[in-house]
Subunit: 90 residues, 2 copies
């Protein structure tokens, strides 16, 4: 797994855990919705400045993001199942 | 501190701890010496593929790199002093 894939998966998970939309977070971070979507799917490399802006928009530190990405690399992608209206991470 | 600065500082520290030159690591990772130098100084964003290649060249996992970068963000840059022939991290 590449770094951008681990980071993208974590950004997406944090956003979903907060119950926020791509549009909302992209707007706060001042990036386009398609761009943030590509970053979340690990298809685009985000510059360090953009990563910082997305972290701020999500209210998480860059350090927390790295720690989560490290765990992502260790345990692999987590499966998220929509149980009723609650997103549960297995 | 931006992600590329934290990652660059860690890559440089690991390389120096191994007593290896920029030329040697760049050659193994198949990147140019000036490019690796810029990455180490946090001036250029390395793509995830290049980061993976540099990690392989250094014999460290991407996860270890992230963990060190997280510590770098927490404690800030470490001062390295050349005491005789031993590089000591303060």
């Amino acid at each position: 797994m590449l770094l951008r894939q681990a980071i993208g998966a974590v950004l997406r998970r944090i956003r979903l855990q907060q119950g926020r939309t791509l549009r909302e977070v992209a707007g706060t971070a001042r990036v386009s919705v398609p761009y943030l979507s590509e970053v979340e799917r690990g298809r685009k490399e985000a510059s360090s400045e953009i990563l910082a802006a997305v972290c701020r928009a999500l209210g998480v530190s860059l350090r927390a993001l790295l720690d989560e990405a490290s765990a992502e690399l260790r345990y692999g992608p987590r499966v998220e199942v929509d149980v009723g209206r609650v997103l549960t991470t297995l």
